[in-house]
Symmetry: C2
Subunit: 297 residues, 2 copies
């Protein structure tokens, strides 16, 4: 299998884009065209069908300017089984459009359970009735609070599937400072987390020199970017927090100073600023250009 890092690297160069389309569908704020065609026997089915169409339309409109989509699992789970099916369909739609799918669930659990999550996200589950395929994601996010042993099943499954893992290092919300910026004791916790990621970069390294053992690093505190890039020279960064949360593309240059230097060293996720725009394609293209400039590619 081709490692995630190499698949991403090729796509970034081909599309000259580092944009990841966040898909966080809120049933009360879907595209009118999607609301109109909702169908099903109950509110969950109707909402899930509208969410599926909403995501497909966003992928059609903004997708050509992006390299990946990032469905937010919470937004699908809350619609129950029909929501989970819409999630699976959305991932397939994105992949059919040539995009990589990053399942954003921020899972983390003890090793035996982490292995089950990995089956759900990027693997398959053997059963007496045959294999049950997971979501088929190209990459997924993971929470490292449970420590190194709990990350291993994610990395194992990712290596097998040619997938990437984006480990939370410094998230984009204000409360991230509570724990992730805490001294521990010499460096902030997020630097410890970065070392935990860096030590695993070899596990998912691609031919391009980048590693699919990646890191989630928010755009809202760009002062952390340069230091975290030094600590994790080859890890691909997944950067949320641009747009609605206040992060600015022009502050992200340091994220691209990878070793080796590569335009796929970071991808920038944007949800509301694209989905809620009157012209999602134009919003995605504008962001693409701004990030490409910041990357100095």
């Amino acid at each position: 299998v081709t490692p995630f890092a190499d698949r991403l690297a090729a796509l970034v160069e081909e599309r000259r884009s580092q944009i990841c389309l966040g898909l966080d569908p809120f049933p009360g704020a879907l595209l009118p065209e999607a609301v109109k065609v909702a169908e099903g026997d109950d509110p969950a089915e109707r909402a899930a069908s509208a969410v599926r169409v909403h995501c497909r339309l966003l992928i059609e409109r903004a997708g050509p300017h992006c390299v990946a989509v990032k469905p937010q699992l919470a937004c699908f789970e809350r619609l129950g089984a029909p929501g989970w099916q819409a999630l699976r369909d959305t991932i397939a739609t994105a992949q059919a459009a040539g995009l990589l799918a990053i399942a954003d669930g921020k899972r983390g659990d003890v090793p035996v359970t982490a292995a089950a999550y990995a089956q759900a996200l990027a693997g398959h589950t053997p059963t007496p009735w045959g294999d049950v395929p997971g979501l088929g994601a190209d990459a997924f996010t993971a929470n490292p609070l449970l420590g190194g042993d709990a990350l291993e099943p994610f990395l194992d499954a990712a290596a097998t599937a040619g997938a990437g893992v984006f480990i939370l290092v410094r998230t984009s919300n204000p409360g991230a400072a509570d724990l992730q910026d805490m001294p521990s004791p010499k460096v902030p916790l997020h630097e410890e987390l970065a070392q935990l990621v860096a030590g695993r970069a070899g596990r998912l390294a691609g031919e391009c020199g980048l590693s699919g053992a990646g890191a989630v690093v928010g755009a809202t505190e760009p002062r952390h970017l340069a230091r975290l890039r030094k600590l994790m020279p080859s890890s691909i960064f997944l950067i949320p927090g641009v747009g609605a949360q206040g992060g600015r593309p022009e502050d992200l240059g340091a994220a691209f100073a990878s070793e080796p230097r590569h335009p796929a060293a970071a991808i920038v996720a944007a949800s509301r600023s694209i989905a809620a725009s009157p012209d999602p394609a134009a919003a995605a293209e504008e962001l693409r250009n701004a990030v490409w400039r910041a990357s100095n590619a």
Copy 2:
């Protein structure tokens, strides 16, 4: 609504039990009676139908000795939409048997997404087609790495629903030491997490004096229990790691030294040691007696 703490307290006293039946179904290790009646059009549906029956049988057999069940979300998610439906049905089955349902998903995300997870777990989601109910869990586990602001939506939703939240403080896996035991800088990180929980105990306090702003504290390092109990005097502890992971009921006494003292101050989750026993009812009863003795109730 009656707070989770009070509902749990009444049930613990009535059943003289602090046992939480962990439901971590592995499709390759289901009860033979469940495997036999599997039905559906594809492996996912068949496996999910068998998982549903497996959980129902375990609830029937071991449930009377327990006060709660703890379905492991990963084990259902990996079976896709049919798995999610089996999860919902299992929660309903447990509640119909008089048990509380603790959805163990260890979710954690930025506030807007945490709110979506809370809708999925213990709330409902408004849509243009009507409200979509979540899983209806009585309590759920949560990961605090994203900080205080990211816990608020969980606490808000729990307060509205009369639910409990068990926040990861010191998990039961060996790798927990990597971060959770790290000095930060004066105390280990898990003590910082404990303070984060303790500061929120008032939010979900019950008449019984205990708080549904609870903590996950593993049984595998019982030396932490007394200190963590002092830091979180009224929080209900959810204790995994007994049995297969090596934790012993007789080492758990300190977890029950709550202020005020109450037999519902801690509940002990056991999965494999009950589900994989030739006699799940006897295994649950034995564990119940051992924990009840340790609680000095």
